[in-house]
Subunit: 421 residues, 2 copies
């Protein structure tokens, strides 16, 4: 008998019919002899609707009250799911983050889990009940207040709970039936991977694949939680995301997949004096604005070797704030100007096998060159190479690279339609 | 400086505009130098919508999960209200029943408050913040689960909190601007009472006036909490519901008001053997069905003096269940039959002065007789006389009685449009 944590995203429980379907699916897994703990997100657009309501009474989004507001969402979905399971003859009990023993710090809106003591969840499982836990939410014992975990919070709840319960597997359900070698909407011949190592999954998540939130993948890797990405609406076994212990490493395909991200902007700080400490001043400004940047490239200015340019990439939504912050300090730091570009696209290839295989970058750049695509920035890790291109060329680039690395399937993949939160 | 508990019902916070209006109103009361603790219901139809959702996934309404579901409603309204107050420059913090220290038993769906320890509410008030508490909900420390207080629960939360905080007054806001001598929709010349004693208010509430829930009034009487019934949408001072200490009793008007109730049915058990214990058997059947009955009248059967008839009144909604339960036991108990009548109306006159004034019943029956209205059942308390008439005659009866007791105003009252929950 296995203990399985199943996480269902908002699109899997967006109306009464889908909730009943999920209830039946959970009961099937239990009938196969498993203990089932379920983590559930708010129904469909509930969170967006609540945010709209908040915006209609207030121009600020005060974090403590926002968390109080948003946590209403999972209360609704989880109690309905418990009732649906009971209606179908099962036993189920729903638990808030607090009741499930999910302790966090008190950083409202993006709290971090500090400890999980799922006493009541274990009691429910021991009593043969399906334990349903609210995703996305926790409780700060320091302040006595409800907290939320931020974007991808429900994935994180599921993985953390699977770790605390020592579950055999954490299944992440959405409307996508697994991890693909590329986004099938861009590359019709993308293949679903039967399995992928967690390091590669981490790089895929951080390079724009929306299928699993990077924070949850990081948690799974650190705690050795096996994940399985499955579709709520098919019986396909999905993709196993496995963790390897040292010495257990398998032969990996060189490149597991190609991922793209068209949600970034590039900002270039032009004509920064090429003296020690100036780059640090620039990044201090960015850090004070509280923004995570992705890629950084510094190179000498074409006009003057005493000056350099620094380009950074970051999410579109953060771009205006950073440009404004930089321009406000332009005279003080002494650079010549700031430019930005919202029309960039990022393409990444990811694979654990890249560590031991040479020539991967050469093959990538060759494929892009043959397709007539200019590379504007490059960044690499041990198992990932990312390049910045024009956003308008991103789809062509992805198809060319997918073919060059021999990832194309014989058949056209089924197009999937977006992911749950 | 006074400490005021203000309760706002669902119709007072049914959309963003109304929430902003309520926020402004709360800040005005604070600006006048008062400490303000607010109790708030779920927005408008939220509770009904959530019940509909539950019905769409389940044919049962499992109580623990229903409470989990319904308590989402106040989380939404209270956090939005806190944000609206902050937006208008005030300081506010919202608290769940648990956070406000509202302990209940674990009777889901109709929990009773066992203790209130509003530590965090006091801290907030001491910090100059407006403390916003979720109405209708509590927490069972025995089970660790969220509970709800049942119908009128938000009124009860407000009164109980006012008692625990030793508040100077508990203001109940709705879309009605006070307690009237009769329902102005029925009696256009009904007068708003500037004040009423709490015993009379209790009788009004139990006789069908929807303005305050009887359970909250009972709590206020037992704990000596002064209430004020006010409108969210006018500056009128409303009606003070005062509690008197022994020896403090004032001269009361003989009759404070006339109230009506057309939501009851009459059930008659026909031909019950007139021997000891038979009536007890009948009421045992009713008790086992878990129904509160209102009036009881027993009289000898017209056909046979060895048999008697018993008539009871109870809510429409309970009538089918009780009739079925009685018929199932008819042979066992040995009565001749069960009949029922859904077309009855109840009229009550209420007033603390009736205790010391004779002739009130005579005046009531005379007025009804002159209006050609037949009386079918009568029940009395020290400060109330209720009669059952045909439902179709109830409005005429009310107007006749209102006039006979000289309650008519010189002017026609403003018609009000229903009450909050």
């Amino acid at each position: 008998m296995a203990l399985i944590v199943q996480k269902f995203g908002g699109s899997s429980v967006s109306d009464a019919e889908k909730i009943k379907h999920v209830a039946a699916r959970i009961l099937e897994a239990q009938a196969q002899g498993n203990d089932i703990c379920v983590v559930v997100s708010a129904m469909g657009d509930t969170t967006d609707d609540l945010v709209d309501l908040a915006d209609s009474v207030s121009s600020k989004r005060e974090n403590r009250e926002m968390d109080m507001l948003l946590t209403a969402g999972e209360r609704i979905s989880m109690s309905l799911l418990a009732m649906a399971i009971q209606e179908q003859g099962g036993k189920a009990k729903s638990f808030t983050g607090y009741q499930a023993g999910i302790s966090t710090d008190s950083d409202h809106g993006s709290a971090r889990i500090s400890k999980i003591e799922p006493v009541r969840v274990r009691e429910a499982l021991n009593a043969g009940e399906i334990a349903i836990v609210a995703g996305f939410q926790g409780f700060s014992f320091e302040t006595g207040d409800v907290t939320t975990l931020g974007r991808g919070g429900s994935d994180t709840t599921a993985v953390a709970l699977a770790s605390a319960l020592n579950a055999d597997v954490c299944e992440i359900y959405s409307d996508v039936d697994g991890v693909y070698t590329a986004d099938p909407r861009i590359v019709p011949r993308a293949r679903k991977l039967a399995q992928i190592d967690i390091e590669s999954m981490l790089e895929l998540s951080s390079s724009g694949a929306k299928i699993l939130y990077i924070r949850a993948v990081e948690f799974a890797r650190r705690h050795g939680v096996p994940l399985r990405v499955r579709s709520t609406f098919s019986v396909d076994s999905g993709t196993l995301v496995y963790t390897t212990k040292p010495g257990e490493e398998m032969e990996e395909p060189v490149v597991s997949g190609v991922t793209t991200d068209d949600t970034q902007s590039k900002i270039t700080i032009i004509g920064l004096p090429d003296i020690p400490g100036k780059a640090a001043e620039v990044f201090q400004i960015v850090a004070e604005a509280g923004v995570n940047i992705d890629m950084i490239v510094q190179n000498s200015s074409s006009q003057d070797t005493q000056l350099s340019d620094i380009s950074i990439t970051l999410p579109h939504s953060e771009r205006p704030k950073i440009v404004e912050a930089l321009r406000a300090k332009q005279a003080e730091v002494g650079f010549e100007g700031v430019s930005y570009d919202d029309e960039i696209g990022k393409l990444s290839i990811v694979g654990a096998g890249m560590k031991t295989s040479s020539g991967v970058s050469a093959k990538l750049f060759g494929a892009l060159a043959r397709a007539g695509i200019n590379i504007e920035m490059i960044s690499t890790s041990e198992i990932r190479v990312s390049v910045i291109t024009r956003a308008s060329q991103l789809k062509d680039a992805t198809r060319a690279v997918h073919t060059a690395f021999e990832l194309d399937a014989a058949d056209t993949a089924i197009i999937y339609a977006g992911t749950g939160r």
